[in-house]
Symmetry: C2
Subunit: 494 residues, 2 copies
């Protein structure tokens, strides 16, 4: 048995790192000799009361440093020799742990033993139109523009792509004379540039609560204050927003009106108009994240807030990466020209410009009509998957569980009954081959212990059904167990 000391779940050092450091210490001190077999991850997790993923992460780190080696079917063995022959660090090695700022632990990544992962809001690669992609690439690299594409480009983006997007946006009524378009390296960069340009000098930012952590973490930086407003079935709660806008005079309001991540909620037209009016009254700048907009499976599309806004306070964010190929990082910002100028200066300092090969390939993919063909495929597939997810939730979740009813996008949101903690149950779900992201990773102002996000778009309908059936059974058993425990907890009759 491995003799590790106590691990501290409250420490700013993640558990996997604490475990890694302890095992490393045992190897370096010689307590664990060369060729010693380490316990299986499942076994050690059981002994220490940890998630198996935590142990796997510690082992991976040890392996990446050459301290242990995994052998298929046999387990992991100490191979400390490589460590001992390495150059010993000189006396003046920087104390990186003191130099570096503390950071938040990232959201859990799905481990390889998980067969059905509801953890990533992304399309299924089985749906990628590879043949169309190959044809498109071939056309781009054999075109006379190839030289221009491979040469250094403009921070604003590849000019033919910007023209194409402007034409499309004009037809749709989401760009006006005083607007301009900046190409970004995906929508994540758009958030980052907006934070730097509009919120880095302090001020309050209002977000939907819960919200995608990549968005929250961008704005939750030193100097900025972030307030979450609860989001219901019709998007952000307008009355709560009204109070906060009046009281806090925030600088920015970030909304995802279509198929919000994680809840899947969509704002109806009336809510969009109401929020825009509140924004105009309070002077807040409104950032409209519309990356899921083209993925509506049910019902009619609703105008963007940007298209309703004559006052020029709405900044619209879009991206190819939910629709087409997430590995190609191309998004864009539509905003008043004066703001685009500042964002472009920030963009130039961030990464000079967005990769031009992907810009040119995605332009050709869109121009040729292949993107629209692909979108139709995505809509069919998305509808099938959404229906499978909703039907499975209806059938398998325990009574009292609540789940949202998205009409598009990639995510739905479940709240468990009876005080169940989604974060605590994740380890068990993963042992049974299913993963999800617990609600706490999406929380802004309000804790979300009972909630979890199910990202359904990347899976096959059969996987969705199986995965939700397994989760439903786990939740049901846990409810049963807590009911039994509390029955036993009743004071004895005397």
């Amino acid at each position: 048995m491995l003799r590790t000391g106590n691990l501290d779940p409250g420490s700013s050092t993640p558990l996997y790192r604490q475990l890694y450091l302890q095992i490393k210490g045992l190897i370096e001190s010689g307590d664990l000799g060369n060729n010693t077999r380490l316990p299986a991850t499942r076994e050690l997790a059981g002994q220490l009361g940890l998630n198996r993923t935590t142990v796997s992460a510690a082992y991976e780190l040890l392996e990446s440093e050459g301290l242990i080696t995994g052998q298929v079917g046999r387990g992991s063995f100490v191979t400390a020799a490589s460590f001992r022959t390495a150059t010993p660090p000189a006396a003046s090695t920087p104390d990186w742990r003191n130099i570096l700022p503390d950071g938040e632990a990232p959201a859990p990544a799905s481990r390889s033993q998980v067969e059905i992962s509801f953890s990533a809001s992304r399309p299924s690669e089985l749906l990628f139109p590879l043949e169309d992609f190959r044809i498109t690439c071939g056309e781009v690299i054999s075109s006379p523009e190839a030289k221009t594409i491979l040469q250094l480009g403009s921070p604003l983006g590849y000019a033919p792509l910007r023209r194409y997007l402007r034409d499309q946006s004009q037809m749709e009524g989401v760009v006006n004379e005083s607007d301009d378009i900046l190409i970004t390296s995906g929508c994540q960069q758009a958030f980052d540039l907006l934070q730097r340009t509009l919120a880095s000098q302090g001020g309050t930012v209002v977000l939907e609560d819960p919200i995608y952590p990549g968005l929250k973490n961008v704005f939750q930086r030193p100097g900025a204050r972030v307030i979450g407003i609860p989001i219901g079935g019709n998007g952000i709660e307008v009355q709560a927003l009204e109070g906060v806008l009046a009281r806090e005079r925030p600088r920015l309001l970030v909304l995802t009106p279509n198929f919000q991540n994680p809840t899947g909620a969509t704002m109806p037209l009336s809510a969009r108009k109401a929020v825009l009016e509140l924004a105009q009254r309070s002077g807040v700048i409104l950032i409209e994240n519309d990356i899921y907009g083209p993925l509506r499976y049910v019902g009619e599309s609703i105008p963007t807030i940007k298209s309703l806004d004559a006052s020029g306070r709405t900044v619209l964010l879009r991206s190819f990466s939910k629709l087409a190929f997430p590995g190609l990082r191309v998004g864009w910002i539509i905003a008043p020209r004066i703001l685009v100028e500042k964002l472009t200066a920030a963009k130039q300092l961030s990464d000079l410009h967005t990769d031009q090969l992907s810009q040119a390939v995605l332009l050709r993919f869109a121009e040729s009509g292949r993107l629209e063909d692909h979108r139709k495929q995505m809509l069919n597939a998305g509808l099938e998957r959404l229906r499978a997810a909703l039907a499975a939730c209806e059938k398998h979740l325990p009574p009292g569980a609540q789940f949202t009813q998205p009409r598009g996008g990639m995510n739905l949101w479940i709240r468990l009954p009876g005080g169940l903690d989604a974060s605590e149950l994740l380890g068990r779900a993963e042992r049974e081959g299913v993963s999800y992201v617990p609600g706490k990773y999406f929380a802004v102002s309000e804790a979300q212990p009972s909630a979890l996000r199910i990202s359904f778009a990347g899976l096959e309908p059969e996987q969705i059904r199986t995965g939700i059936r397994i989760l439903g059974a786990i939740f049901e058993q846990e409810l049963e167990r807590t009911r039994t425990d509390s029955a036993l907890d009743v004071p004895a009759m005397v």
Copy 2:
């Protein structure tokens, strides 16, 4: 004649924008009616004492808003109709000018009338190995990995590329057991991530002076203090550095030991060792920017500081984009694992991950040996261009002019004699079809009015000779004029 008011060169609003606003006002007020012909850019520049590029930029902005239209061979005409039918801004339009932070004017971009541009430190697209690139792309997109490449990736970078770079770096001795590799969206992003992770909470950053503005501007952000140390023919002045390290206890020291931008200077081995020892003594973290390292045309390569450093305080930055295709944005950071972990968290917030199509294409390009073949072509071409530039400087620059003697890279640095101001002379050079970047854009602590950067790598040898001949003649004439003026300035003999 166009009746514009006075323009204020001291304003934070750039001149082109002031001019644009004035002309826009004249159009909106009706003073300039529809179909009125605007003066030619050269003519208006002469009238107002502006650079022609300034006028062109103002016209471009007017054209992009549909206020004027250029007709080939005829000039620019007011087409205000489209403006007047646009939606008038509502009363609550945000006051963007007050909301947005002031920014620095960007370095001048080369205008289209310039035929020989020494302004961009980038390779010539005539040297791009297009056929090899096409073959490489074809191999990547028809490989079984295509699906993985197009799917969402890891913030650390495309795993096969990271493995390849680690193997290469190990052979070269620039990575050790406790290091890791993070792929960045070009080297500019590496600077940005390092600034966010190591210098955003204050502290002093020491840079070479002069330095590439994209690097200086990243570190010159609110909260950080930047100190420039003069750079000579052998790189940063070690004695001056020693004083600053002792006195200021800076957090970061950023060096480009090979073919520095803009000076082309290279640090000899002795200087690298001396700087490393000073860094160890003072505790500063050393960032070694080596993007020009593979482009040595003359002499033997010198070990990187990273390979000399056993203390783990050196962070090495590299990139494909100077060597191969600048439009593909892929660079990497080699640093202690604990720092890479923090940089990866910052990277994830910045843009999730680097574009995977370009990562995979560049990996295949390198693995297949095509990158090394291409590098050999680049070395031949670079040597020819460097020799052409140095010979032309020798022949055409006026007596008293100084210029550096780079042995690789893309840039050399000229200092003009007799109090000539390179910034003032740029307008005249551009009128004669030649551009460069004046020294002031590279200045950190010391003004560089007499200096200019010549980027020679993107031009043909004949263009280099012609361009430097034209510049030499302009500088010579200006020297002659100032000599005559000062001769006239001599007090009368009495």
